[in-house]
């Protein structure tokens, strides 16, 4: 379909600037989807120490670059053989602020994994979850400010998600309580009512939560109802 730009010459400065801003926001949504797709590829291959272009916003005051580098440098498996983390990105909800400088988003994901910690035969894992996060522009491109994986399920393939919950693989291993307070904080539990988090960003997310480092937008459903 060929586009018709008749009338573009008749737009005044204000109208034209508004149009530019709308186009910039739509382009931002596209670029952020690309950014998170790239992050998903690199999450899958798990090659620590490999030189890569930066996807994380490192200059923001809320970011501790040293802590991020330290986290990245820690191997959690003896060998990459048989390991994979395929967490596809579905159902994106992305809201860009009016200045087109920051964006909040949530994706849902039905993932599969292979996990071999000590060169043992890998475990096939089904892992459902979400990817919530905030993005800002840094060095002329969109970067991830915060937000990674939030687990819903992570079960050995044959066990199913009601009967098994694998913890996040770390060294040293997490206790169940530590895991519960980390990526498994809102994970499925057969004896609990599901908690509605993360909430996808609402259209007015930037009016209600103007600070990009503020993560409370994810947890609005967890607030105690106010007494009438």
């Amino acid at each position: 379909m060929d586009l018709d730009f008749t009338g573009i010459d008749d737009l005044g400065e204000e109208e034209f600037a508004a149009l530019e801003n709308t186009v910039a926001k739509l382009t931002a949504v596209w670029e952020i989807r690309n950014l998170r797709g790239q992050a998903a590829i690199w999450h899958d291959d798990q090659h620590i120490g490999q030189k890569r272009r930066e996807l994380q916003a490192m200059k923001h005051p809320s970011v501790n670059p040293d802590a991020i580098r330290e986290f990245r440098a820690k191997a959690v498996v003896d060998s990459l053989e048989g390991n994979m983390l395929l967490h596809p990105l579905n159902m994106p909800v992305i809201v860009v602020n009016d200045a087109c400088t920051k964006a909040r988003a949530v994706w849902w994901s039905m993932g599969i994994e292979g996990l071999s910690k000590f060169r043992e035969r890998p475990m096939a894992i089904v892992s459902l979850g979400m990817v919530p996060g905030t993005h800002i522009r840094e060095d002329g491109e969109w970067r991830i400010l915060n937000g990674a994986w939030q687990r819903t399920t992570k079960n050995e393939y044959h066990a199913d998600w009601v009967h098994d919950m694998q913890p996040t693989n770390t060294r040293p291993p997490l206790t169940p309580e530590q895991d519960r307070n980390f990526l498994g904080k809102y994970a499925y539990r057969p004896d609990e009512v599901r908690k509605a988090s993360p909430e996808p960003p609402a259209d007015d997310t930037w009016e209600k939560f103007p600070d990009e480092a503020d993560m409370s937008w994810l947890y609005v459903n967890l607030e105690a109802p106010k007494a009438k």
Partner: protein
Amino acid sequence: MPSVSEERKTNLVSAVRRLQAYEEIQNNMGRLIAAFNFRQADKVLGHFALGRPDVWLEFADEGVFEGPDAVRQIVMETVGAPVKPGEMLDLQLNTPIIEVARDLQAAKGVWWAPGGGAIPQDDAPPKAIWYFGMVAVDFIFLDGAWKVWHMHWFRFIKCSYEKGWVEDTSMINRLNVPVHPLAKPTTYHNPYSPLSIRDGIPAAPRPYDTWADSGWMLERDKSR
């Protein structure tokens, strides 16, 4: 009142055209994969730039089918083969990474494609399978439409539903039968197995001005 500069108008028109391309490419890929799932060979072929002598399709470890005749033949032989009762393939695209060339004449895209399927068996119910892969595509803008110029399907897992991707690796590689006479050598095949190592292929395309080659699909330098 100062008028809007011509440069701003040009930039805006270009940005809108690129956004339009982004949507059209996603729709076309969705239609192509739907046709693939429904075994509609003619519709699949309708998405390829068959007017180009350098059109190609690479399929897992079956090789590269280059040129319109080779693409047409392999699609007709596979997608167009008679469908058996109980046969199913259901690929679903997600995780799109798309870059439209600034000259608006070409585009690059990568999708992940989890899927399920069913393979008919002799004297038994069909076998349920998982079938996941990734697809990398060069698109070319021809006669007002985005066409698949080069497509590489990367098989990731193909296993029985019952056993899963660790226990069953029997279907990740091609059988030991003669390669297709039109196939050129496979450029990359690294499906998941308990012994495989992931390496981030196909690579995500990066912003670009004008299409130069398809090397980006297998790019291992992740610093750029």
